[in-house]
Symmetry: C2
Subunit: 151 residues, 2 copies
């Protein structure tokens, strides 16, 4: 649990950088689950990249593939400050992520424990273990504050 907190705090740093750049504040970290080494860090960049797919999870997976030289990130764990959306949940499965840890739950747009509950579908052949609610309040507060200032 100590390590999980440590990595989520790293992901939170990413989320704060996103917010400072006017992006939806979501950050992610990819970790080698066997050694504990951080392989990649990313935060949501959809606006600045003009890329609707540039969610933190997609970017960290793409970086991870480059670093590891493989499209399948075997034995890697992914930490992200918000419950992944359905697009990212499917990408996490395709990437063969071992364990997914996430912060705030997203009842409106989440796709892991809400909406299409992606990991309950046979269309996805690899199912990661997943754990939500890690540093939930801090992760969620960033989102709440961001959307409050947008109104």
């Amino acid at each position: 649990m100590k390590d999980q907190n440590k990595y989520m705090i790293e992901a939170l740093e990413g989320a704060k950088m996103a917010a400072a750049q006017g992006e939806v504040p979501v950050g992610a970290v990819l970790v080698n689950g066997l050694t504990g080494e951080i392989i990649a860090r990313a935060f949501n960049c959809t606006e600045q990249n003009n890329d609707p797919t540039a969610h933190a999870e997609i970017l960290v997976i793409r970086q991870g593939g480059k670093v590891l030289g493989a499209p399948r990130l075997v034995d890697c764990d992914l930490y992200v400050t918000l419950e992944p959306c359905p697009m990212c949940a499917a990408a996490i499965s395709f990437a063969r992520i071992r364990r997914l840890y996430y912060g705030a739950y997203d009842p409106k747009s989440g796709g892991v424990e809400h909406g299409p509950r992606m990991f309950s579908h046979a269309a996805l052949h690899h199912l990661p273990e997943f754990y939500g609610g890690i540093h939930e309040s801090e992760c969620g507060a960033l989102m709440t504050e961001f959307f409050r200032t947008k109104r």
Copy 2:
């Protein structure tokens, strides 16, 4: 219908290039729905890019965002040779694609008319119109042939 055939034939060219490079043969074309201009072309590159998210649809959307200088591809139509998976279906919604045209149905891994049927979920706020089965047999034959040679 004439135009839809024309664009799907372009997407099929992409799928054939993918097959020639040992990639799952799926091709996609992004079209300005108002002018008919082709904005971007892509094919599946997951293996050569070491990127599990590099499906034809994701790549064509990312290129489209670059070309248009916007993360929302308003009034654009997307042609792809295979029913999009759940990841791509969600990306198509985020990109605000106007109409989706696809070739072969994918009962096993598709996410539009199979599996999680992404466009039936409230988690996705934008719902494109979608039309499947365009040049279905030619699109499907490429896939069948590809996986036959892999066995």
